[in-house]
């Protein structure tokens, strides 16, 4: 995701997880999925070959948003929903930095929905990790914008009425150039997806199915539990027909309406299956794929849904500055002030 990754520190000494771990005690509930995400990120960091001082983690408010305190990097624990805006400021000011946004379903999709979609469409160079636990954890258990309809919580004793967002669909609809999904039960998968997201130049969005064992335990078990994965988890691999199932007996094809549907390979034949292409510029197919994650649980694609190239926002900002300086030379305050009609009083 970053210029910093491209100009990775040439004479970097070998870094370890410890170099990215702060001295602050981690304070999530025991058993929370956030721990495994933190571990995955901290273990990945040394491999990215970027010094901790060149990284900035920006978060909003929510359980996940405590994340920056545990990273021995620069960090901003900002206010509810605003992390993408604050991170945009960091990234526009300093394209040399490696910028990460840590957010949750309430933070990014409810109070901060506007900043989220605009950061994506601008293609600001940052990696956005959205911890989706389908619940408000920090405020002790209200339904969230990703909770399924009918969810009974403290604020919805008769069941919630709100139709949920599908975060990946929303991201694709927001013109995101990189969209992926992973889950907290598979560290290797998380690391691979995070690495890909980080390598992407532009706004890289990753939805993480994250278990809140206190207020919404097991929300994703139907997909992510070890014994369910074969049937319910669709691993996306670029360039390959999309297949899943214990015997790879299922697949995904596009029907006449352009909708993705689950089919039996035996019935339709391998040639009918959709060959996954992350790089299709048109988002329609990626969107169709993202719709497969029907609530409460249905076979769900995991991995990179979309990864296309588009110039980053800050590189274009920089290009305009450079072009203006080439055209007009560096600015001179006196000349600027004296531009237009001036007169002298003697």
């Amino acid at each position: 995701m970053s210029d910093a990754s491209n100009q990775s520190d040439a004479n970097a000494v070998t870094l370890t997880r410890k170099d990215f771990t702060s001295d602050q005690e981690v304070r999530w509930c025991p058993g929370c999925g956030d721990y495994s995400v933190l571990t995955a990120v901290q273990l990945l960091m040394p491999e990215l070959n970027i010094k901790p001082e060149n990284q900035v983690f920006v978060s909003g408010i929510g359980c996940a948003s405590r994340f920056p305190y545990y990273m021995n990097t620069y960090g901003i624990h900002s206010i509810h929903g605003r992390a993408p805006a604050v991170a945009t400021g960091v990234a526009v000011a300093r394209p040399d930095l490696d910028v990460w946004v840590i957010t949750g379903d309430g933070d990014a999709l409810s109070i901060g929905g506007n900043h989220f979609i605009h950061a994506l469409r601008r293609n600001v160079n940052m990696t956005i990790l959205l911890f989706n636990n389908q619940i408000y954890g920090l405020t002790k258990g209200q339904y969230s914008p990703t909770s399924e309809v009918g969810k009974v919580t403290k604020s919805s004793p008769f069941g919630s009425l709100d139709y949920p967002f599908n975060p990946c669909s929303l991201a694709i609809g927001s013109e995101a150039t990189f969209v992926a999904r992973t889950h907290d039960m598979d560290r290797k998968h998380m690391q691979e997806v995070f690495r890909r997201a980080h390598e992407h130049r532009g706004a890289a969005f990753v939805e993480i199915y994250q278990n809140c064992n206190v207020f919404n335990d097991g929300a994703f078990d139907g997909v992510t539990a070890k014994d369910k994965r074969a049937e319910m988890l669709i691993e996306l691999r670029h360039g390959e027909p999309i297949r899943f199932g214990a015997e790879n007996e299922f697949g995904v094809r596009l029907n006449q309406f352009g909708e993705a549907e689950i089919v039996s390979v035996a019935e339709v034949g391998e040639a009918a299956l959709l060959v996954h292409d992350e790089h299709r510029y048109d988002p329609s197919t990626a969107f169709a794929l993202s719709r497969l994650a029907e609530q409460p649980v249905s076979p769900t694609p995991m991995g990179v849904l979309r990864a296309i190239d588009r110039p980053t926002y800050e590189s274009q900002v920089q290009d305009q500055l450079t072009a203006a300086q080439e055209r007009r030379g560096p600015g001179h305050l006196r000349e600027l002030i004296e531009s237009g009609a001036v007169w002298d009083v003697v």
């Binding site: 305190y69 901003i76 900002s78 600015g331 600027l336 009083v345």
Partner: protein
């Protein structure tokens, strides 16, 4: 206007004149006003302007709601307001006449576009009879001029279709007024060529209309003679005309340069602040990054992110935007980062009067955040002083690592005045070094970086930016432990941090210019204290009172929080204190609370600045004369 001399046939000399151009929003009155102003400025007059236009982009044509006006006051001496009473009203249609007639005094002149005074327009303006004919304007000197038909006639060989050609009638009016006040015509020719050079027909139509207006004045024998207003004897130096918003933009550019920091300006379009974004966006060769954010909250969020990363983070808005930015401002208070928020105040509450001026955001700036969240407030007193106020705001923000609110308003933002250029080379260096080394020694001899260790004098915390090895730190809106900056919820620590943040702002009082009192003979018993854009009206009011043989002292605050150190002593010197404000009494309340002074108010909330006569009358009342 005082008539000074008269020579047969040659223009009569005036020391000053107030002209108001009024017409429909689509009539181009702001453009004509701007041109007249620029020409007069370059000619060397002192001047002040008051644009006044509707919030609707296209209010129904011909209605009172759609009237747009531009008042300009030019003089051969230094003036401080756009003038109370127009000496001349140019009325392009009946609605323009109706909307402005009440502001004229008997004897004022009216030039009316008689072509527009037909039944339909009269009806739309609510006139039952034609005021040009029914004698209702007998107290005024009325000059009916068929501007539309003369414009059409003048433009007939340009190839412009009549529908288009009649749109040039504002240039006819400009030509006529240029003749009346002996303005140079070359600058207008040049401007028309530059602006309309790409479209020959439009260019020709405007130029022909302008010339026709000018010649009409010369030859029509409607007017006895032209007038002239000599250049003003202003302090020597190089001048230009400048609006408040342009001065604000330049102040930011100057601040970035003198702070040796790149400027990151993020804002969301809002009247009347958008022109600052427009201006800064033009000057990318200064390395200025401008971001048009998705909303007001994002704009300040981006500025905060930029500040954390070592840029001069700035956002500007008007009242509704300040409401939205409140939470993020609190974050900046808590993170103790330099940040500038410019509030170009307009009439409120809610959407209020988007295009009209008011000073009712002072309490919002002071207290409009949850928790104890003090921050410094600087106000601008004149359009050109927006440059200085913005620069001063940046100085304080950087030195004390705090968000600063700069208060201007719609009147300053759009109004203009001649500006004596600042000595760019003499501008203060307001840079501070970033922190690059650990600042805390542990008992075991190791060193580390603590983000909330404070400077002993300013109480500012270190500004260490990403990319600096060894100084990685995480901060945010949660209360921090004194020194380490780690999350901390302990009761005593919160009180300590709250008091430290307040004390840091309070200490700025010792680092700002003392307030200056204008008390020519030193015997006044009445002190008039204002802040921001009421400066001109208060000065003009005081001049009038003094001209009548009375004494009055004035003091206009630039720094509203904290107050200058000498303010309390000054207030105590006078028997009576009067505070004029374009709100229902906000500074007066702060003064009463801070100094236990019996400050009286004069208030106005009409979306318009004070008239000097209003201030004068209140001063006279307070003087018991």
């Amino acid at each position: 206007m005082t008539e000074i001399s008269e020579t047969n046939g040659s223009p009569k000399s005036l020391d000053r004149v107030v002209i108001r151009f009024a017409g429909d929003s689509g009539d181009g009155m702001q453009l004509v006003g701007d041109r007249f102003t620029d020409v007069s400025a370059a000619f060397g007059n002192d001047l002040a302007t008051l644009p006044n236009y509707p919030a609707e982009i296209r209010a129904p044509a011909g209605t009172i709601a759609g009237v747009s006006s531009f008042q300009v006051h030019i003089a051969d001496y230094d003036i401080v307001t756009p003038g109370d009473i127009p000496n001349l009203l140019v009325a392009m249609n009946p609605a323009a006449l109706k909307a402005n007639i009440a502001d004229l005094a008997p004897g004022s002149a009216i030039i009316a576009n008689i072509d527009a005074f037909e039944p339909r327009n009269l009806d739309k303006a609510g006139y039952e009879a034609n005021p040009l004919e029914d004698g209702s304007l007998d107290a005024f000197r009325v000059y009916p001029v068929p501007m539309t038909s003369l414009t059409l006639e003048a433009a007939k060989d340009t190839g412009a279709k009549p529908r288009d050609a009649q749109r040039s009638k504002n240039f006819f009016a400009l030509g006529l007024i240029s003749w009346m006040y002996t303005r140079p015509v070359e600058p207008v020719y040049k401007w028309i060529a530059e602006r309309f050079g790409k479209s020959q027909i439009v260019h020709d139509a405007n130029l022909c209309a302008f010339k026709a207006g000018y010649h009409f004045g010369e030859t029509a024998e409607l007017f006895e003679h032209a007038y002239e207003v000599q250049p003003a004897k202003l302090p020597p130096g190089r001048y230009r005309n400048i609006t408040g918003n342009a001065a604000t933009a330049y102040g930011l550019i100057a601040a970035g340069q003198q702070a040796k920091l790149p400027l990151l300006y993020a804002s969301y379009p809002i009247t009347p602040a958008s022109d600052i974004l427009h201006e800064l966006s033009k000057h990318k060769n200064f390395g200025i990054r401008t971001v048009q954010a998705e909303d007001e909250i994002s704009a300040i969020g981006i500025a905060i992110g930029g500040a954390f990363a070592g840029h001069l983070g700035v956002t500007a808005t008007s009242g509704p935007g300040v409401d939205l930015k409140a939470e993020a401002l609190g974050l900046a208070v808590s993170m103790e980062l330099p940040l500038i928020l410019i509030d170009v105040q307009r009439g409120g509450p809610s959407t209020g009067l988007p295009t009209k001026t008011e000073q009712a955001d002072l309490m919002l700036a002071m207290y409009g955040r949850h928790g104890e969240a003090p921050l410094p407030i600087v106000s601008a007193r004149t359009p050109s002083e927006c440059f200085d106020a913005t620069f001063e705001g940046a100085r304080i923000a950087i030195k004390y690592r705090t968000p600063v609110i700069v208060l201007t308003d719609g009147y300053l933002a759009n109004g203009s005045e001649p500006w004596l250029f600042p000595d760019v080379d003499a501008l203060e260096d307001i840079s501070i070094p970033f922190t690059t080394e650990p600042n805390h020694l542990n008992p075991d001899g190791s060193v580390e970086f603590w983000p909330y260790v404070r400077d002993e004098v300013t109480l500012a915390r270190p500004w260490a930016i990403p990319g600096t090895p060894g100084l990685m730190h995480r901060i945010g809106g949660i209360e921090k432990e004194d020194g380490t900056g780690n999350v901390n919820y302990e009761p005593a620590n919160h009180e300590l941090m709250t008091r430290l943040r307040a004390e840091k702002i309070a200490r700025i009082a010792a680092d700002i210019a003392p307030v200056e009192v204008d008390d020519p003979d030193g015997n006044a018993r009445l002190l008039v204290v204002g802040w921001g854009s009421t400066h001109g009206a208060i000065q003009a009011g005081a001049r009038r009172v003094r001209a009548r043989g009375h004494e009055v002292a004035t003091a206009q605050l630039m720094h509203v929080n904290p107050f200058p150190l000498n303010l309390g002593e000054i207030l105590s010197r006078y028997d009576r204190v009067l505070v004029p404000e374009l709100n229902l009494g906000q500074l007066s309340r702060l003064l009463r609370a801070e100094y236990l002074v019996d400050a009286k108010s004069i208030n106005k909330v009409q979306g318009l600045p004070f008239l000097s006569a209003e201030i004068e009358a209140k001063m006279m009342e307070m003087l018991d004369v």
